[in-house]
Amino acid sequence: MNILVIAEHDNQTLKSATLNAVSAAQAIGGSIAIAVIGSGCQAVATDAQAIAGVDKVLLADNAAYAQHLAENEAKLVASLAKNYTHVLAPATATGKDLMPRVAALLDANLVGDVIAVVSPDTFKRPIYAGNAIATVQDSDAIKLLTIRGTAFPAAANTGGSASLESVSEVFEATKTRFVGEEVVKSDRPELTAARIVVSGGRGVGSSENFKVIYALADKLNAAVGASRAAVDAGFVPNDMQVGQTGKVVAPELYIAVGISGAIQHLAGMKDSKVIVAINKDPEAPIFQVADYGLVADLFSAVPELTAKL
C-alpha cells in the first residue's frame, strides 16, 4: 500500500487533524507520504517531515495554492494520486471541500468521515447523524477517504525523518477569485483538539451572556463550542457549532450548558469521554447521555462552578 495524506495547514503551521489522518494511514498500513500544498509553506513541510512513521513529504509551494481553492488544488491532488493506492485528508471544511472534487476527477467515489479502518478497502463511517454506523467496501482503484479526527489518535509529531521532494506542477484557478477571509482569532485551544470543551446553547440567551461560558472555559483551559441555535441567534460565530452539520468533538470532558440535546447536537459530541449537562429542565434529552447532570439555572450554577474550581 502506498498512501498519500493531504496536510491541513494555514501556510504557517501544520494542523493537528493531519496527525489523526496519519494514524488512519498507519491503520491501513504501507508507506506514507504527506502532501503539503500551499504558498510559503516550507515550515509546514519541515513539521510534516518530523511526524513519526512518515516516509516522504511532497511540497507544492506556489502562490496558486495560497488559499486552498478546490478548483485548482483538486487537479494537483488528482495528478499526485496516480502514484498511490489511497489518498486521505482530514474531514475538515477544507478536506470536505477538496476531496469529493478530486474523487470525481479520478472517476472514483469517496468514503467520507471514516471512523475505523477494517481492512485496506473496508471502512466504517457514521450515517444518519451518527445513529447508525455503516461498513462500506470501496472497489475504486485509488481509494479516497476523509478521516474523522476524533476517531484516530494523533501520530507523534516528533521522531520522524521523512525525505522532502518538491512538486513543480502548477494549476491556476481561472474561475475562482479569492475575495477575502474573516478568520476568528482566539487564544483558547482549538475546538476539535481540546481536552475540555464547554458549550453553550440557546439557554445562554445572548452574546453578552456567553461571557459566563468563556469564564468557565478559561478556568479549565477549555475550548468553547455552541449549539446550532446559539450560532443561528448570533450569540457566537459559525465556526463554534458542534454537531451533525458542524464540528465533531470527543474531548475528555464536555460540558453542555443550556443545550437541550437534539440528535443533531449529540451527533457532534456523544463520543466525549465524560459529559456534564447543566440545564434547568429536568426532562431535557441531554440528561440521557450525560454522565453527570445538574438541574439548575445556568446563570447561578456556572459562575459558582467557575469560582469553586
Partner: protein, 250 residues
C-alpha cells in the same frame, strides 16, 4: 439567469432511525420522509434570487423513486417553476453516479447557477456538489452563508473551520448551502395547489446516457455503542467532587 436546484428526498430530520435487526441497513419502512433541510435552503435561495430580479427560471431536479415527486412538488410550492424527475428504483446510488446524472441535466438545461445542499442528512456524505463541479469543470463554493450575484460573478461567503471566506465565482458555478444562508419560508395552501399545475418532466438514467455503476458496497449497518445514562448531582459542589474524584477529568 436560470438556476437549477438539486434536491433529495430523505428521512425527516426529527426522526431517529433504527437499524434493522439483520444489520442490512436502517429501517425506513413507514418513516416520515421530507425534503433534505439543506436542499430546502437551496430552493429558498433560488426563489429569493428570482424575487430580487436576478433569476428568471428555477428548475428543480431529483433522482430517486416515484415518491420523490412529493419533494419536487414541495419545492414548486416554495416557488420553483419546473421539475425534472430522474427515475431510479435503487435508492442507494453512490454520490458519483448522482453527480453524473446531475451533470447531464445541467448540460441539457444550461443554467448559470446550480444550487445543492451541503449534505444530505441521511448519508451525511457532503460530496455531490463538489463532484458535480469537477465533472463540469465549474468553480465551486461549498457551505455558503451568503450569495450575491454581481454581473458575471457569484460572490459567495462560505463557512470554513476558522471563520468565513469569500470567493468570487465566474458563472456558471456550483454553490452548496449551509444552515445560515436563509430561513426557508412556510408554504401556503394556495401555493401547494398552484404547484400541482407546474410542469414535471420525467426521465431515466438510460435516457441521460449514464450507466448505474457502483464502487461502494454497503456491507453492514450497525447501531452505535449506546451511552449509559449517568446520574444527576444535587449541587455544584457534588459535581466538582464527581469530576475530581470519580471521573478524574479535572
Amino acid at each position: 439567469m436560470k438556476i437549477v436546484v438539486a434536491i433529495k428526498r430523505v428521512i425527516d430530520y426529527s426522526v431517529k432511525v433504527r437499524v434493522k435487526s439483520d444489520q442490512s441497513n436502517v429501517d425506513l419502512a413507514n418513516v416520515k420522509m421530507a425534503l433534505n433541510p439543506f436542499c430546502e435552503i437551496a430552493v429558498e435561495e433560488a426563489v429569493r434570487l428570482k424575487e430580487a430580479g436576478k433569476a428568471t427560471e428555477i428548475v428543480v431536479v431529483t433522482i430517486g423513486p416515484k415518491a420523490a415527486q412529493d419533494q419536487i412538488r414541495a419545492a414548486m410550492a416554495m416557488g420553483a417553476d419546473r421539475g425534472i424527475w430522474v427515475e431510479t428504483v435503487d435508492t442507494e446510488l453512490d454520490a458519483l453516479t448522482v453527480a453524473k446524472l446531475l451533470a447531464k441535466v445541467v448540460q441539457n438545461e444550461q443554467p448559470q447557477l446550480v444550487l445543492l445542499g451541503k449534505q444530505a442528512i441521511d448519508s451525511d456524505n457532503n460530496q455531490t456538489g463538489q463532484m458535480l463541479a469537477a465533472l463540469l469543470d465549474y468553480p465551486q463554493a461549498t457551505f455558503a452563508s451568503k450569495v450575491v450575484i454581481e454581473g458575471n460573478e457569484a460572490v459567495v461567503t462560505r463557512e470554513i473551520d476558522g471563520g468565513l471566506q469569500t470567493l468570487g465565482l465566474t458563472l456558471p458555478a456550483i454553490v452548496t448551502t449551509d444552515l445560515r444562508l436563509n430561513e426557508p419560508r412556510y408554504v401556503k395552501l394556495p401555493d401547494i395547489m398552484k404547484a400541482k399545475k407546474k410542469t414535471l418532466d420525467a426521465t431515466t438514467p438510460e435516457a441521460l446516457g449514464v450507466s448505474l455503476q457502483k464502487s461502494i458496497k454497503l456491507l453492514k449497518v450497525e447501531a452505535p455503542a449506546e451511552r449509559q445514562g449517568g446520574i444527576k448531582v444535587e449541587s455544584v459542589d457534588a459535581l466538582i467532587d464527581c469530576l475530581k474524584n470519580k471521573a478524574r477529568v479535572i
